[in-house]
């Protein structure tokens, strides 16, 4: 359902774009002739970058992190989702983002839209929504970058930086370091978010591309809560840091 809606929105968006900027480089040809080359037709892509089982120091988790786009070269609709749930008690959290992206520089999409978070599990579900403004692209040295600021429905401001890098060990064996940094301008105690730097995540995954589209992997993920957020965690009796072993699969279509 979400996929269909996504696709429909994309089609509408592109139709609108096309109506404004329909050019005919062929010149004065009869109107009923076909267009010579439809170089602006839409494509779609969906990448499950991480779908993994994490053997944690505490309860183990299943985690996913996926994103996709649909659209043309300059304007795309993006969907991003990530979340995790504990294997033992089914408690978890899911995040969904729907964004509109505009290519603003050869390697950069400016993205804006909405984010929706929801917890699930034994207690009552809680949710909150955000406005999102992000910059998604590739830095020099080929560092994949996703930087976004979020403003929650309560006006709380937060920031997330994600960096990924790919090192080819063979033509199919790829080492992927990953860094994620979260920060917040306000303390949001109910969500365990402290003021300042929230956490630093460092991951290292080694995948084998059986096909380009399908690659199982193993890796480690180290997380460390920081500053005020670490204090909140201690107050709740939660861990401040964790080193997990992960096994998962990356795929796209």
């Amino acid at each position: 359902m979400a996929g269909r809606c996504f696709r429909l929105c994309g089609a509408l968006l592109l139709a609108a774009g096309a109506a404004v900027a329909r050019a005919n480089g062929a010149g004065d040809v009869p109107a009923d002739w076909p267009h010579a080359h439809e170089d602006d037709h839409p494509f779609g892509y969906f990448l499950v970058d991480r779908f993994e089982y994490r053997d944690d120091e505490g309860p183990n988790h299943v985690l996913w992190d996926a994103q996709g786009w649909y659209g043309g070269d300059y304007r795309r609709l993006w969907l991003k989702t990530e979340g995790e749930r504990a294997v033992s008690d089914s408690n978890g959290e899911v995040e969904l983002q729907a964004l509109y992206g505009q290519l603003v520089a050869p390697y950069w999409d400016l993205q804006g839209g909405l984010r929706y978070d929801r917890t699930f599990g034994s207690g009552p579900d809680r949710d909150r929504a955000f406005a999102v403004l992000g910059l998604h692209g590739v830095m020099p040295y080929r560092v994949e970058t996703d930087a976004a600021v979020f403003v929650s429905e309560d006006g709380d401001l937060s920031l997330r930086l994600e960096f990924e890098y790919e090192l080819m060990l063979t033509q199919r064996l790829v080492l992927q370091p990953r860094v994620e940094l979260n920060a917040a301008a306000q303390r949001v105690r109910a969500w365990g978010v402290g003021r300042g730097l929230n956490d630093l995540q460092l991951g290292l995954r080694l995948r084998y591309e059986i096909r380009r589209e399908f690659a199982p992997y193993v890796g480690v993920e180290w997380v460390r809560r920081l500053a005020d957020t670490a204090d909140l965690a201690r107050d709740e009796g939660e861990r401040v840091g964790n080193l997990g072993l992960v096994v998962g699969v990356r795929w796209w279509f």
Partner: protein, 633 residues
Amino acid sequence: MSTTSALPGRFTRRRLLGGLAAGGLLAGFDALLPGWAGPLAGVVRSRTPGPVEFDLTVARQRIDIAGGSALAHTLNGTVPGPLIELHEGHEARLRVHNALDEDTSMHWHGILLPFEMDGVPGVTFPGIRPGDTFEARFPVRQAGTYWYHSHSGLQEQSGAYGPLVIHPAGGYAQPFDRDYVVLLSDWTFEDPWTVLAKLKKASHYYNFQEQTLPQVAAQGQWRQWLAWQQMRMSPTDIADVTGHTYTYLMNGQHPAGNWTGLFRPGERVRLRFINASAMTYFNLRIPGLPMTVVQADGQDVQPVETDELQIAVAETYDVIVTPLEDRAYTVFAESMDRSGYAAGTLAPRLGMAAAVPALRQRPLRTMADMGMDHAGHGAGAATAGMDHAAMGHGARDHSRAADPHAGHAMGAVAPVDHAAMGHAPAADPHAGHPGMDRMPPASGPRSARTGIERAAPGPVLARHGGDSHGIGNQAVAMVQRDRTAEPGTGLGEVDHRVLVYADLLARTPARDARPPMRELELHLTGHMARYMWSFDGQKFSEVHGPIVFHYGERLSLVLVNDTMMEHPIHLHGMFFELDNGAGAFRPRKHTVSVKPAERLTLLVTADEPGRWAFHCHLLYHMHMGMFRVVEVA
């Protein structure tokens, strides 16, 4: 089929004019030849000169190909389509029947004709609807080796192409005994639209020859590797689509099918190489047999002998070889990225084969390809050094003379080696002084030079201005060079002779001796990661009208390649003269491969009115926007 009956007799000018048995109007005859698309395909017969009618049916059918079975776009039931032979000075009536359930079209590549016959949907005609027939009827005004292909969608990738040979009215300039078409193509069992979608999502999808960390470490090339990483590019981007999905075909045969051309030792064999690939450049050689190039893109050139030549997509080269020994020779067409090859055999008898060379190590892009300055700082200089050292380029010539391009240069100018361009030093050959043009040599073919001798980057002609061509363009060639005397990618390291554009001299001087009245500069642009391709940063869907050539004008068309890969640029309906320093003997071409960071000048006489397609002949580049229409009015 019997071996002897398939072979033409001694094929001289007199014999051609005298004609052989089959003659007259040959409607669809070639389609019935046993053996086309079989191991003995490609035989060109001499026929009585005259008008030709030909019926070509485009269909979608399951055929055996590349060692498997697949749905293909067939032409009269085969891939490639049948050989069409026409005669200069006579009329051609080529009827294309559409048996598909979608539109089709047929473009006669390199042929001079009224633009309405040119076969480009949306530009010259509306296309051929299912069940309809289109007749391209035109007087044949030229001779040479050409080809034809669908210009609709991606049909060309799935089989809709074939060879077209026009016999000259006045007989052949060089005698030969046997005559074969050798048509090269790339076949995939994937749906071409799937190939395109994969490139769009992951442009490196088919590259399984990337630089790996262990390789970099073993060779100690950290600085170079970092320089490429810094630029967010890969030096292994040689081909977008590779042998990972492609099977490379010679006259429709994969290597195991072993296309065979027969000869008797001592005979002169004409091989008409046609690169009908969607995406693949080939390096062609016949180990043990030097090739005398006599024609390029259907136009006679002064014979030049070489051991290897690079054929860009959509180019044709005619060579004459004289195998003296009673043994088999391998015709080896290695894809430029060296991920695969097409191969066949020249042999005195059917069923023979010679050793097939091993694929050579894949080449790497250089800093010259990136449009970087060798004299530049840190990373650039380091990588340039790496390429020359690692690839064995020892022979950089420092004893260089004055710059023949000085008149055109806009920025810093480096010296050029006249000797390296294969000519006696003359005053500016680009200035068009008729007195300075070299005459054809008295006797015997000239000789190309070795790849190593040719390896040094050509002179810098200009630097890029401030326009970075918008967000759909990845990079610009800061330093633009004359690369017409450089070997193609990967051939700068070979120690046998390789053909370069500077070796091509037209057999006869240009008819239009006027200097250009106008200069038009176009940049080849794109974005590998997004798989967007364009001219001047604009995809075809983003431009609002054609490029205008004024009827009758003499035009200088300057192409600057801002991307880091070669693009075979094709102009429909007119030949351009490639400004390679040959003065009035500039070779005439319909397709010219522009090297990365090259600044190439083409001279055009705009004498064919109408709308003409102008595009990169890499199929997926064209389809993703590297396409324009030229209007001659």
